[in-house]
Symmetry: C2
Subunit: 200 residues, 2 copies
DNA sequence: TGACAATTACCTACTAGTAGGTCAGTTTTG
DNA sequence: CAAAACTGACCTACTAGTAGGTAATTGTCA
C-alpha cells in the first residue's frame, strides 16, 4: 500500500480527508482552498496545516487513500476464479455508476487528470499510476473472459481495455455537465453488449 | 453562430484568444491568469481587460470561437452525401488525434468539463451545448452508416454515440497523463473495428 | 501514587504573494 | 481631430503557509 501518513489518523484528520476528496471530485484540486475546509468543518486553517503540512501533502493523502481503497476492491474482485468475467466487470463499473448517481461527483483521478499540468508532480505521478493500474487490471479481466469463451473481442485485450476505461472516465465527465443520468448507463450497456459473444 | 464579440477582432485580441485557448486546453481555466497572458504576450493586464472586460467574457469568447470552428467542420463533413460514413468518422476523430500528438493538449470542452462546477454559468452552458451537439452529430453519422450497410451496431445509435464520444474525451485525458501516444490511436482502432460489419 | 515531560490537537494573528478588476491618463492610428 | 489601443498605478479579496501560544492528554519514573 502507498501510505503517506504513517500511523492511524485522528477523527479530524479523517474528516479533512473526506471533505477534501469530495471537493476535488466535484470542484477540482485547484478550485478548493483550506478556507473551504475550515468553513465547512469549523476548524482553523492552521489546524488543517497541523494535520497536513501542505496542500500537496493533503492531496497526496487523499489520492493514496482513494487508490488503496479502489485497488483493494480490484484485488477482491479478481480473486474468485470461478466468478464469470462479466460479473467482475459489473463489479468494476459499480463505483462509476455510483458517482453517476450523484449530482456532480466524478472519479477522483479523472477530476485530477483535467488539471494535470497544474498539479504538483507528486499528484501527477499518482494519477498516472492509477490509470495504468486500472487499464492493466481491465486487460486481465478481458483476457480471462476470452479464455473462458465469455467475451469475443474485436481487438487485442489491451486496446479494448483502453476503450472501456476511457469511455467510463469520459462518460462521467459528460454526465456531470449535461446532467443526464443515462449517459454512463448507456455506455456500460453498449460495452457489455459489444463484449458478449455473438452480440453483433 | 454564437458570437460574443460583435465585430472583427484586433490582432492583439486574437493573440489573447489563441493563448487563452491553449492555456485552458493544457492547464485549465482556473489555473491560468491574466498575468500569464500578460507575461507571454508582453501586454499589460489592463490591456487584456480592455479587449475582454472579464475573465468570464474571455472564456466565453474562447469557447464560442472553438465551438464555431469545430461546428463548421461538422457541417462540412456531413454535407457530402456520397462520402462513406466511416470516412466521416475518420474526419471527426482527426482533431482528437491532432491533440493527442501534442504533449499536453486535450479538447477544450473536455478540459473545461473537469472543473465544470468551478466555472461561471455562461461557460457551463456552452460546454453542455458542445457535448450535446457532438453526440447528436455522431448519432446521425452512425444512423447513416447503418442505413448504408457500412456499420452494424450492438445498440441504438444514440447509445453507441455516447460510448464513442466519451471514449475519445476520456482517452485524451488519459493520454496526457500517461504520455502514451498510442492511447487514443488504440481507442480509435477498436471503435472502427467494432463498427465495421462482421468485425466480430 | 504523584510529579514531570512530551506529545497531540488545536487556536489567534500574521506574512508574502497572487488573483481579477478599475481608472485616469497617454500613445497610436485611420 | 477622434476613436481605438494601450499603460502604470492601484485596489480589494483571497491564497497557502508561518509564528507562537494554549489546553488536554499520555508516558515515564522515582
Amino acid at each position: 500500500m502507498t501510505t503517506t501518513t504513517p500511523k492511524v489518523l485522528s477523527k479530524t484528520a479523517e474528516q479533512i480527508l473526506d471533505l477534501a476528496e469530495m471537493l476535488i471530485q466535484t470542484r477540482g484540486y485547484n478550485a478548493f482552498s483550506y478556507q473551504d475546509i475550515s468553513d465547512a468543518l469549523g476548524v482553523t486553517k492552521a489546524s488543517i496545516h497541523y494535520h497536513f503540512a501542505s496542500k500537496t501533502r493533503l492531496g497526496m493523502a487523499v489520492v493514496d487513500r482513494y487508490v488503496d481503497r479502489f485497488g483493494a476492491a480490484l484485488v477482491a474482485i479478481a480473486e474468485d476464479q470461478a466468478r464469470p468475467a462479466m460479473a467482475m466487470l459489473d463489479f468494476y463499473v459499480e463505483p462509476y455508476l455510483g458517482y453517476a448517481s450523484t449530482p456532480d461527483q466524478v472519479c477522483l483521478c479523472g477530476a485530477l487528470a483535467g488539471e494535470i499540468l497544474a498539479l504538483p508532480p507528486e499528484l501527477r505521478a499518482r494519477v498516472d499510476r492509477f490509470f495504468r493500474a486500472h487499464q492493466s487490471w481491465l486487460t486481465g479481466i478481458l483476457k480471462r473472459g476470452v479464455a473462458r469463451g465469455e467475451f469475443k473481442l474485436a481487438a487485442p485485450a489491451g486496446k479494448v481495455a483502453r476503450l472501456i476505461f476511457g469511455a467510463l472516465q469520459g462518460a462521467l465527465l459528460v454526465k456531470r455537465t449535461t446532467g443526464d443520468p443515462a449517459q454512463l448507463r448507456d455506455v456500460v450497456t453498449v460495452i457489455k453488449l459489444q463484449l458478449a459473444t455473438g452480440s453483433t
